[in-house]
């Protein structure tokens, strides 16, 4: 169900099909808020993604005001260089800061600055480690691997404490850190010393095929319309392999609904719980439709739904095997004992 269909259902229960009391904009805001509510009940929505390395950003921008004018809704913009607050200029190198301040401009940077992160592997030494983008609704990582090797999580502080040359350090990545949570990107430490360059056509890994509809938010699963191998056949099409790329298994936030044709990220059988929370909030709003009895009813319905969801989340683990053990107890072996063939001894 897309947003327009869900809105119709919500309006049916509000008895306001024409929007005389509750506007579409209000319902949309309440709905998006209710999505976060459900997300808290359900826990994470997990997903898997492969991000190519070097990363491809759709645009780069310098000033904050430019962000609204680039394709941030459909791609990944990169904030390049450094903004100098005192002069309100964008600067490249540290000596420029000193020059503006009329100091002796002598401080050198460890390497070369870039405006697109992939350039970090084109120069001899990048001046700062390049970021790798994560999907827009990224919340937390469950497992991250670079070139199939797992990465530990660390912090920039820990990296700086142990390594004076962290900015330009190259090698085999073994950790990653996230500088801030507003921007959905991580930084590998150390920066991979070499990468595999990708051609759009020809052999090797593809960014996309000319007949495919690929968007920047997918990696492992791409809708390859021209291919029989698509997600509809139940196969994950690794147009990007995990080798020499970043594999991310993560929990995601729900994406906000904006347009009528947008569909919530939740499974269809969970979407009604968002509607219940929306209805409760709508009746609670200080409008002509304020109705305490209906607030109670929809709140009860919502809470019953959340209970159902909690039971559902427990049932999802019913195929697990549980074993009581101490630290020294070996884990249960999954290998079967050797057994004779069913037809033994051979029947003549």
């Amino acid at each position: 169900m897309d947003w327009s269909e869900q809105r119709t259902r919500i309006r049916r229960f509000l008895r306001d099909p024409s929007g005389n009391i509750w506007s579409d904009a209000l319902l949309l805001r309440l709905f998006n808020n209710a999505q976060y509510d459900l997300h808290n009940q359900l826990g994470a929505i997990d997903d898997v993604l492969v991000t190519r390395v070097p990363p491809m950003y759709q645009t780069a921008y310098l000033h904050d005001w430019e962000w609204a004018h680039n394709q941030h809704a459909t791609g990944y913009p990169y904030l390049a260089l450094s903004y100098h607050d005192q002069s309100q200029k964008v600067l490249c190198y540290t000596w420029e800061v000193e020059n503006i301040a009329r100091s002796t401009a002598t401080t050198g940077d460890p390497g070369t600055y870039y405006t697109q992160p992939w350039e970090a592997w084109y120069v001899d030494t990048p001046a700062k480690p390049p970021p790798l983008w994560l999907p827009g609704q990224f919340h937390t990582a469950k497992f991250i691997a670079y070139d199939k090797d797992p990465l530990e999580v660390t912090t920039k502080k820990e990296v700086q404490q142990d390594d004076r040359t962290w900015k330009a350090r190259k090698g085999e990545p073994f950790a990653y850190y996230r500088e801030e949570t507003l921007e959905n990107h991580i930084v590998l430490y150390p920066t991979p010393s070499s990468v595999t360059w990708v051609d759009i056509t020809g052999d090797g890994m593809l960014i996309y095929d000319s007949e495919d509809t690929a968007d920047s938010e997918t990696g492992t699963v791409i809708d390859a319309e021209a291919s029989i191998l698509s997600q509809k056949e139940g196969l994950g099409v690794d147009l990007f392999g995990a080798a020499a790329n970043l594999l991310v298994i993560f929990s995601s936030n729900p994406q906000e609904i904006v347009f009528d044709a947008d569909t919530t990220d939740f499974a269809p059988y969970l979407q009604k719980y968002i509607e219940y929370a929306t209805l409760e909030s709508a009746f609670r709003a200080n409008t002509d439709g304020y109705a305490p009895s209906l607030i109670d009813f929809w709140e009860t319905r919502k809470q019953l739904g959340y209970q159902a969801i909690r039971k559902f989340m427990q049932k999802r683990k019913e195929d697990r095997d549980y074993q009581l053990r101490t630290p020294v107890t070996p884990a249960k072996s999954t290998r079967r004992r050797p057994r004779l063939p069913d037809a033994y001894p051979a029947q003549d």
């Binding site: 139940g234 298994i249 059988y269 009813f297 739904g305 209970q307 683990k317």
Partner: protein, 229 residues
């Protein structure tokens, strides 16, 4: 209209032979069908009463797969069987996998375990070395919403009245009658075993006690009271 819809209309007072509001067509029945479908989804979500098998051909060097049923949505996986090897794959999560072998992505052999990812993806480990073999994945599947009278309703008989109560509750809620809606919703919750928000059992005080005056385990004993004259 099917028997669920008929029962709902009868309870809300609609003439089932010649309905005024909820006419026997897709437009007239839309609200009732929506409610019934919502209830069926929740019943299956709670009871796991509808399972289907998903046959997935495994590919060499592919760990991750989608589970994309054409007629419903995956709720959870109940078992995974590998053919032709004849092996049950064990469910794990990524913590267990990383504990088993931090470089688990490099392992290549006949799959032994799987990890569900989200609601409709899974990862198998080790990664298959050849593109042979099929996984028979049994899943609880939330059935697709029925749209016509003749569509099959994937619901056990013992839950049918719960579903009817649910649809009736939503009908009264859509009319603004919160009291009747709550009544029917309570009945629905009881039939499904969903506790209400303030269950009566929480107000009970349970305690263990013995009755030390009960001497029946040592046989009859009579206690003679000395009586005074």
């Amino acid at each position: 209209m099917n028997d669920l819809e008929t029962n709902v209309l009868q309870i809300i007072g609609e003439d089932t032979s010649s309905p005024d509001v909820f006419t026997d067509d897709s437009t007239g029945m839309a609200q009732i069908r929506d409610s019934i479908n919502d209830a069926i989804e929740e019943v299956v979500m709670l009871t796991g009463s509808h399972k289907r098998k998903y046959q997935l051909s495994i590919r060499a060097d592919k760990n991750f797969y989608n589970l994309d049923f054409s007629d419903g949505d995956v709720a959870w996986i109940t078992d995974v069987w590998l053919l032709p090897t004849g092996r049950r794959l064990v469910q794990k999560d990524f913590i267990a996998l990383t504990d088993f072998n931090p470089r688990w992505l490099y392992n290549s052999a006949t799959p032994e375990r799987y990890c569900p990812i989200g609601l409709d993806k899974m990862c198998i480990h080790p990664v298959p070395s050849t593109s042979t073999g099929t996984l028979e994945i049994t899943c609880v599947v939330i059935p697709a919403r029925y749209t016509t009278d003749t569509d099959r309703v994937h619901l056990r008989n013992e839950y049918k009245w719960a579903v009817v109560d649910y649809a009736v509750a939503e009908y009264f809620a859509s009319r603004g009658d919160a009291k009747r809606a709550t009544d029917h919703l309570s009945r629905y919750a009881k039939r499904l075993g969903l506790e209400e928000q303030y269950p009566a059992s929480q107000e009970r005080l349970w305690r263990l006690r013995t009755d030390k005056r009960d001497n029946s385990w040592i046989g009859q004993s009579s206690v003679q009271e000395s009586g005074g004259s």
